[in-house]
Symmetry: none
């Protein structure tokens, strides 16, 4: 569990500081500061501890036949963009121009927590996403959990 949201800045060299609480989690829980950085189809960049990547992302691919349409798209779009990064001494990683472009990242960016991974968003896109989330959450309750 990566907790909280953090606003950080992307410098001229394309680097971002991974928020200290996330680094703490990477160190304590995974004993590995590296992260797998990849394209996400929500329009952001997703970051996984390598252990989580292998545990929960790769099986999504290998669990399907090699001619499965969804698998081929996922493999191409997500896995195809994945790079394992090691943070520098200040806890930063560089985001490639390709990924920056994909997620429309400019100077002000936002990290958002999640279970087993976290994400990197452009401020405006994140706001739009929250707005859509709100509409879904405020709509009449769905059927209770079975």
């Amino acid at each position: 569990m990566f907790e909280g949201e953090y606003s950080v800045s992307l410098d001229d060299k394309g680097r971002v500081s991974i928020p200290a609480p996330y680094r703490e989690q990477l160190r304590r829980r995974y004993d590995d500061l590296r992260v797998v950085v990849c394209r996400d189809y929500d329009g952001c960049v997703s970051l996984y501890p390598p252990a989580e990547w292998e545990r929960s992302v790769l099986p999504e691919v290998y669990g399907r036949p090699i001619n499965d349409q969804w698998r081929r798209a996922f493999e191409s779009f997500v896995v195809g963009s994945a790079v394992t990064c090691t943070p520098d001494k200040q806890g930063r990683i560089a985001i490639s121009a390709t990924l920056r472009q994909h997620a429309n990242l400019s100077k002000k960016v936002i990290f958002t927590g999640g279970v087993g991974h976290f994400q990197l968003w452009d401020v405006a896109l994140r706001d739009a996403k929250l707005q859509r989330d709100l509409e879904i959450l405020r709509a009449p309750q769905p059927a209770p959990v079975a």
Copy 2:
């Protein structure tokens, strides 16, 4: 059960004192002064004892399929913003700028009690919420719980 409403102030550093009765409840009933602070889609900030968070909030997420729309929105909106805070020696916690902005919190804020959690409101938004509550409560009764 967290009882009562309390008016407190948010200082320049974004800190609020958790009302003493709530702290007393956290200590006696949960033996843990920490609270999970998160965005709430009613427009306020919700605070849960960690035990309650795991008992009643997280199952709402994990009880649903990962591609469920409501689950994805809830995970992004609520869980994505959650941070576990430990009160300082004076019983205060810091509310991040993001959460303050979300709930429109200024200097005067209100804590409201609840079952298993409590909330932090802006005065005006709280008044509006009470008004809406009234309308719901005065409307024709729904069918009894099965």
